[in-house]
Assembly symmetry: C2
Homo-oligomer: 262 residues x 2
Amino acid sequence: MTAADAEPTTVRDPVKLTPLPVPKSSDVLADDLRERILRGDFREGTALPPERELVAQTRMSRTTVREALRILEVQGLVRIKTGRAGGAFVQRPDEKSMANSVSLLIRGRQIRLAALLETREAVEPACARLAAKYRTDADLASLDAANRELARLATDPGTDSLADFLRANVDWHIAVATASHNELLTGFMIALSRAIYTSTDNREFVDADVRAATVRAHRSITRAIQDRDGDAAVRRMARHMHSYAEAVVKIEERMAIEVPAD
Amino acid sequence: MTAADAEPTTVRDPVKLTPLPVPKSSDVLADDLRERILRGDFREGTALPPERELVAQTRMSRTTVREALRILEVQGLVRIKTGRAGGAFVQRPDEKSMANSVSLLIRGRQIRLAALLETREAVEPACARLAAKYRTDADLASLDAANRELARLATDPGTDSLADFLRANVDWHIAVATASHNELLTGFMIALSRAIYTSTDNREFVDADVRAATVRAHRSITRAIQDRDGDAAVRRMARHMHSYAEAVVKIEERMAIEVPAD
DNA sequence: CTGGTCCATTGGTCGTACCTAATCTACATC
DNA sequence: GATGTAGATTAGGTACGACCAATGGACCAG
């Protein structure tokens, strides 16, 4: 202090520091492991070291190690099994993990059904084009099976067949997405279809006419995909999506009139 | 046993049981909180009770409570702040959280650039149509600004302008997505654009010609969006995407020849 | 071959203690 | 009164240590 006191005016704080980030240890570990996994350092199915082993290696506490593993688990990069020969097994993220986060966005933002239909109208025709281009015979078989199931549920007026019909409907759409052999679009469509399904579940506008029309449309789109006619697939899918969306909107307006001024 | 023993042949295993789930407590808590958040029980920004308070309420250990909160944090449903007046604050998931998981899928599956371009070619024209329909004046201003910046970087042969050019390119595409006012498509395009950006960074095929063509295409698409001409926007965007993808593929083939037999 | 017992391994949960970060409060200083 | 500063207060972050629970394997009995 003696030398410093000689200075008449002491400058308060000449050095500027932006609030430098103090990362949490668990995040650091998670980031490190994530990077290695994505870089491909481990083959799929490889077991990461046991938690206690990681504790020894990283000199972190088990709490911290476990939080890091939990993060990776939520992100779909690792699957954790209990018991002997258990542990954290490396997994590559799949469409489901992506579909999940899309679903979260949809629910969390309370995205309206109209917006969902609009999105599907935007994406699925393109999906159909790719399906026409890349479909295999197995894809075609799935589509046909979905069509048959749908037709059965459309004609058979069984008890509470609405939910079944809608489920089968979703299956067909997912089959189209799968046939596109594009994992991104597939994941997106899975989330979208599921969300539309749960939004539609409570409405009764899917009457016999709509069902019949749906079956016809699906058949004709399937044929285009079978014939590898991309342009036709796009056109028909676009028509199908558009008329479906229009029907929904019409019903919504009617319901808004019947149940006024909320 | 006596009555059963009368039976001469005992059927081996007539009852089928699926492995019944034994949920982890942290998951149970996370599921419960997630459900409440998504249902809208808390307004955005609301603070969940402090960890120790949750411990008292749920009678779980703090470890468990913390893991549950960590799960929600990773899913983007909650933001955790330290210090006094800190805690877990409810957040609605945004496009970024979705974009993140899409990025994980892309990296984790090592999806090839060709597939990314194919996906963009499928989605972005539809994006452009919606942008033409819903764009506001503010959106238009963003697009114009992005165009100007891009033009500047295309003509000015500054040092290492490639990265800058690509970044500005991404900005424009994101501006288009934003103008569509569709959160799902926006999140999807953000992830896609970022991934394409990082995949393109190392290539030198973005020469002066490609840059000039890009600027021209963007201008004409912007004009269509400005005029609310959806069909033109789709057409031009599709052309743009297609020619870009073609250029990339051509370069890839050339590089494959130059660097043969890996 | 079937079933049972025991053991070793590994994740799951708990409790406690302490550290660190952010904020609030009260008081001192000018 | 405005302002700065020190300490108290409240939160999350980390560390251990102990024990529970699930799983798989080895071994043994029938």
